[in-house]
């Protein structure tokens, strides 16, 4: 369960998040939708304790991320890049992350296999393609077999096979009762996998609800998105 309540964030005097409020529930895939720069990553970084909001709370299972003990066993997170130092091998990266949360070394090889990187375990992260980096980042998120997944633009850079795989993986995760929150600016992609949708635009949540509810009378989620955000002068951009 993820609860974000009236989160405000200002960076260099610019308001980037205004009263952002929504929930992501267990057993469902929640899509966090918005154009680039709308505040998706900023919200997720606050949720993960990386940045601090000026006000508001972001809780995971009722607790702020910074207070979680061995957080990887509760939350798996994927942000920009793989998170691995370029000079480190994929396996070495996963092993230090595992050690930091008291997880056995064997988990490193298990998650490498899960994301199809077994053959690249000894390769340095700096030599990875964009798609491989995403897979390594995802492997890191899976180390602690977490009940909550927070993924920022997970399909970016993945090839069609990778996209298909992650779609299936996220659906399975939700069906097993996990809470899945993923951000994307790709509306068609989100419409394929999300149960619930939160639309953010210029730092504000403009609507949230079930996919059908948000799509409403519009033909597609994309139409609904533009209808929701085009009311301001100049349109969504």
């Amino acid at each position: 369960m993820i609860t974000i309540d009236r989160v405000n964030k200002t960076r260099s005097r610019t308001r980037i998040l205004s009263d952002v409020t929504f929930e992501a529930r267990p057993g469902r895939v929640t899509g966090f939708l918005g154009p680039n720069g709308a505040g998706k990553t900023s919200t997720l970084r606050i949720l993960l304790g990386l940045d601090r909001p000026q006000s508001g709370t972001a809780l995971i299972c009722g607790r702020p991320y910074r207070e979680l003990d061995r957080p990887l066993t509760t939350v798996g997170a994927l942000l920009d890049g793989s998170g691995a130092h370029r000079a480190r091998t994929a396996r070495a990266h996963l092993r230090w992350v595992a050690a930091s949360n008291g997880l056995p070394d064997s988990r490193a090889d298990e998650v490498l296999e899960a994301v199809g990187l077994t053959g690249d375990a000894r390769k340095r992260a700096g030599r990875f393609s964009l798609g491989m980096s995403r897979r390594l980042g995802l492997a890191t998120a899976l180390l602690g077999d977490p009940a909550v997944l927070v993924l920022d633009e997970p399909v970016n850079g993945l090839d069609p096979a990778g996209i298909r795989w992650i779609r299936g993986f996220l659906r399975d995760s939700a069906e097993q009762g996990r809470t899945v929150l993923l951000s994307s600016h790709l509306m068609g992609e989100l419409a394929e996998i999300a149960d619930d949708v939160v639309v953010i635009h210029k730092g504000r949540v403009v609507t949230h609800g079930g996919l059908a509810e948000v799509t409403g009378a519009h033909r597609t989620l994309e139409d609904a998105f533009f209808a929701l955000t085009a009311t301001e002068a100049g349109g969504p951009w």
Partner: protein
């Protein structure tokens, strides 16, 4: 906490740059002793080198490049970009997601660095002094155990100095360049001692007096005081670094 220290040790030791710092720092001083041996022997025979009490310990200075590299990269590796196509992506994100409690993380990082550098210092000091005994044993008495311990402490504190500065700058290039130039090419701190006696209390200058007996220090500071002054510097810089690290957005 044991898990965190283990993770930080692994993290440090799986970086190729760390091994450059480790190998270089460990080997340089003994190699210099070996290369200088003919010159030192002649100087002793000619009577131009009369104060032999620092022989060996003094040669350790050049090896400080090791702890400096280690101290810097422990922090700077967190901040270097992890990918060409994602310039904002850094290892720090992965680190803080795994260990969100920042002061605990710094505690683990500091411990890992101290363990690695103290071990390195012990090995290189033992090697340097053993070689000195082997080559010039008849003239150079083995320094007292307290001085040897002080040399190891100086190495460790130097690594922590580099670490604390990098924690503040969040970039390894500036502190590493400054520290290496200051310790090898031109010692700005030493030149400053010519201008003002206060410079004698700069961390690198005062710290050396923990174990070097030489007379080229403008202000003579007793070893224990020297150790305390250097430690105070490091505690102060670490405190600033820790407060910034705790407050800044990652």
């Amino acid at each position: 906490m044991v898990n965190l220290v283990r993770a930080e040790l692994r993290k440090l030791l799986s970086l190729p740059t760390a091994w450059v710092g480790l190998v270089l720092g460990t080997l340089v001083a003994p190699v210099i002793v070996l290369l200088n041996a003919p010159y030192t022997r002649r100087a002793i025979a000619d009577g131009t080198l009369t104060d032999l009490s620092d022989l060996g310990l003094r040669d350790l200075g050049i090896g400080l490049i090791g702890p400096m590299v280690l101290g810097v990269i422990v922090v700077s590796s967190e901040y270097t970009s992890t990918a060409r196509d994602a310039p904002g992506a850094r290892q720090l994100t992965a680190t803080l997601i795994a260990v969100p409690h920042r002061l605990r993380l710094l505690g683990a990082k500091t411990t890992a660095l101290v363990l690695v550098v103290a071990a390195q210092a012990a090995v290189t000091t033992a090697a340097t002094l053993a070689l000195t005994q082997l080559l010039h044993g008849a003239h150079a008495p083995l320094p007292a155990p307290a001085r040897i311990a002080a040399a190891i402490l100086y190495w460790t504190l130097t690594a922590l100095l580099a670490y604390a500065i990098t924690l503040i700058t969040r970039n390894g290039i500036v502190p590493l360049t400054l520290l290496i130039i200051n310790s090898s090419v031109v010692s700005v701190s030493y030149l400053l001692t010519k201008v003002t006696d206060l410079a004698s209390y700069l961390p690198d200058i005062v710290g050396a007096q923990m174990f070097i007996r030489g007379t080229d220090f403008p202000v003579e500071v007793p070893p224990m005081t020297a150790g305390l002054v250097m430690t105070a510097w490091i505690v102060a810089l670490l405190a600033v670094g820790a407060v910034l690290f705790q407050r800044r957005d990652a």
